[in-house]
């Protein structure tokens, strides 16, 4: 019995022989889960901290006593030392919602859809770990707007539902992050962690969309996907480039120096994105689709931002 079969038996779902979520993927998925568990060993399950101050048992902070506060919350030890009446604040435990937002625009489908495939694998891996941690996981695709979505679900057994959802992804359309963000926030009012997996080739700019999500109190993790083959086309000479999403055309003569300039421009673009994300304190990961997806996921685990 293979690991995939074992997982399938445990989780009650079939294993596709190949495809995006094949045997090898499942093997790696189980490994990632083990690593994730190891990183956060000792923590109780379902102990994702939300930032909500509530009536939990864990001390969070102090504030001054205000008329009407519960006397039982007054920290008398502090009063005895400082003659100040301060009230103890407690963190309220609640389940973390993890939203996996996968870019399914036309640019993601170029080059045999390597970027989209990679994005789905990373999203599925992240979703599996989250489900294993009893977090709520929802998924949605987007292009020029929010696409079909998978409602929040919980439990490891739901992973195949996640697989099936991603396998049914249809690509096409232009990337419109801002419209997507607005629709997403409207659709999913419960705040949580949003992992945006995209190449960020938004004609109108990626900043507005990401900002909107931040403004809506979502914790945004940006995963920018890059396909190296887009940086080294085999053609030379007179060509007509056609934007896969907008259809805009541009005639140019592709030479080695021109290609070198393009690579530098692309690198600058990626650096801009990174700098922007850092400036907004959004965890940012740039990944080449030629690297194994589990390497990216592990990097995300280690650098933090996803597992807390």
């Amino acid at each position: 019995m293979t690991v995939g079969d074992s997982m399938a038996r445990k989780l009650g779902g079939p294993v596709a022989p190949g495809g995006v979520f094949g045997e090898d993927f499942l093997k790696r998925l189980e490994y990632l889960h083990l690593v994730a568990q190891k990183i956060h060993a000792g923590e109780r399950r379902a102990e994702r901290r939300s930032k909500k101050i509530g009536s939990g048992l864990e001390y969070a902070d102090h504030r001054d006593y205000a008329l009407g506060d519960d006397f039982r919350a007054i920290d008398w030890n502090v009063y005895s030392r400082s003659d100040r009446l301060l009230v103890r604040l407690f963190e309220e435990e609640e389940d973390l919602s993890v939203y996996l937002l996968v870019d399914a625009s036309a640019s993601m489908a170029l080059g045999e859809g390597r970027k989209l495939r990679f994005a789905m694998q990373v999203a599925a891996a992240l979703g599996y770990v989250a489900l294993a941690n009893l977090d709520r996981v929802a998924a949605a695709t987007f292009s020029d707007g929010l696409g079909p979505h998978l409602p929040p679900t919980r439990g490891k057994g739901q992973i195949f539902k996640l697989f099936r959802y991603f396998e049914g992804t249809r690509t096409g359309g232009a990337t419109r992050l801002e419209e997507t963000a607005k629709a997403f926030a409207h659709r999913f009012p419960r705040r949580g962690l949003v992992v945006v997996l995209s190449d960020l080739y938004d004609e109108q700019g990626y900043e507005a969309g990401l900002n909107y999500l931040r403004y809506q109190k979502f914790d945004v993790v940006v995963v920018q996907l890059v396909d190296p083959r887009e940086l080294d086309p085999t053609l030379r000479g007179d060509i007509r480039v056609v934007d896969a999403e907008t259809g805009a055309v541009r005639d140019l003569t592709l030479t080695a120096p021109l290609l070198e300039r393009y690579r530098r421009v692309h690198e600058a673009f990626c650096t801009e994105v990174e700098a922007y994300c850092r400036g907004c304190q959004m965890p940012y990961f740039r990944a080449s689709v030629e690297t194994p997806f589990d390497d990216l996921v592990l990097r995300m685990f280690r650098q933090g931002g996803f597992l807390r």
């Binding site: 036309a106 640019s107 993601m108 170029l110 190449d199 080739y201 004609e203 396909d227 887009e230 086309p233 053609l235 030379r236 000479g237 007179d238 060509i239 007509r240 480039v241 056609v242 934007d243 896969a244 999403e245 907008t246 805009a248 055309v249 541009r250 005639d251 140019l252 003569t253 592709l254 030479t255 080695a256 021109l258 300039r261 393009y262 421009v265 692309h266 673009f269």
Partner: protein
Amino acid sequence: MIFEGLAPDAVFRIFGAAAAVLVALYLLRVRRRRVQVPFAKLWNRVVQPSAANAWWRWLKRLFSLLLQLIVAALIALALGKPIFPAGELSSPLSGCRAADAPPSPEMRHTVLVVDTTASLGATDVPGGRLGAALDAARRVIDSREPQEHILLATASGGLSVLSPFLDDSAALLDLLVTGVRPQPRGGALAGVAPALKALLAGRAAPRVVLVTDGDAPPWPAGALGELAWEAVVVAPREARLSDGAGAVQGNLAVAAFEARPYLDDPLTYELYLRVANHGPVATQVDVALASAGQGDTPEAAVDAASPFEALVLDVPAQGEVEHVLRHVEVPAERVLVRIRPREPQVYADALAADDLGLAVLPPRRRLRVQLVSPGNLYVEAALFVREQVSYEWIRPEQWQGPGSYDLTILDRFVPPGPLPAGNYLILAPPADHSPVAVDVSAGPVAAPELRRVADAHPIVWKVSFEDLNVGSMARLVPAPGDVVLAASTDGAPAMVLHQSQAGVKAVVWAFDVANSDLPLRYAFPLLLVNTLGWFYAEEATLRSGRVAGEDWALPLPVGSSGSGPPLDAIDVRSPRGGEQRAPVVEGRALVHAGEVGFWTIDPNGEAPWRVASSFRSPEESALRLADAQWPIWVPPAPRRDEMDAPAPLWSDVWRLALVAAAAILVLEWWTYQRRMTV
């Protein structure tokens, strides 16, 4: 610069066409390849529109077009095969001018002419004259200088070109072996001089090298103009095999071989043979007569020949012997005669080409005679009894010309004006119109006593004029070339054979038969029969055998055109199957017959007839070395430092052009691959 390949205008036309095609292809908008990219906005940051870039890109494409045009021009130039005559090209390696450069082989053009007249087939030199000629030609080709172009040709009456000007010795040697053969004809070298001058006109350093056996005299002074020429004589006197311990070298030849029909004998023929001995000693000759086998070539005729007669002739040194075989029953239409020395170990026949004679038996038919006379029962009676003769009698006032009659007998009548072409027997012509002049000043010859003069002539052969009484006869004055057949004892011509260039062939009797007792003699019908037979045989002989290599004027038989208009051309087939269309002028077909064998003449496609063609050339058969001064060809001294050196690359511009074209193609490919020009 000289173009040895295509002419300059052809080169320009080819380049023009190629350039038009190339420009058209460049003018056609090249469809850009469409490439989908994920984010064109990034490319917009890379490529900024720039007027400077635009014209630079246009220039890059123009550069590619220019390279293609240069390649097309170089290839077109190479097709013209240009060469620089000596002195016009500097050496690119040394950088010096041609005048300052060390001596280099000069460009020169040589026509190598091999004399292929029949004497080349003689075997009186070691290895045969043909072998010696091929060896000599081979030496000339092997000593070819690096810049020398040689044209190979043969001469036998006319010039036959076997190759263009080549610098490929191997190709020339191949052509030498396959193309040089003795031809069954002679011919003076003077006839090819105009062709040689035309071939070498405008060529650098032209010259002629002649390979000959020396039997034909060289070109007379000035015949080749300014052309330099040299000769290789392959059969000089010292090389010819001489007598000694071996056989005497000589040559026997069939000088004539004809078949003549008899007027009154439909079953037999008269065969006339003349054998010549060009050797230094008399010899006996075996003569074999045979029916020729099937096939028109001499080889086929000889291979399947059926002998029917053999004889031996004694032929004196440097002399000829005539022999007539009378009343020979010939079993076939085509006959041949072969001669060979009776004792070949004593007398060696050096040339075999002239040992064969071919003849075709002339067809038999009735002789058509027109008698123009006031009335002459004697002549009519003599004609009437001849089965092979049909005659028509008309009065002089009814005369309209010889028409298609084989013979016209004019009795005491000659029409005014020159006689039309034809055969005539003229009896007692009036003085004022006789084709043979009549001297009236001295008056007629009274009571002449006649005797034969031309004893062997067929017309008077075996005719006796003894005791013949003739009342009187006119005084004929024969012209030069006329043959006196009979005369009076004091020399006054009585019977004259006259032939004119206007085609008149006439036997003229100076006396009136009615004024003699000739009609009462046996000689009278005999004379008439001989005369008729002679005219009959003469015409038949014209078609029985001809000489190869000559231009024939064959008289067409009466009725060849049938009921249609007169023929203006007829089909002729050579012994080796070559077809030609021979024009017909005044009833004679003009045929150029270069082959030995049996030719087929087909006037109307219904009744073809054959003509035998034999090699006959006393000059060639004599195998005599011409008394001439030959400028002897001397092979050039080999250049030690360049004996095996190939021709310099820059001497042949076409090679340079092709190399340059290939280099530019590589350059254009390299720039295209790196997208420098697209």
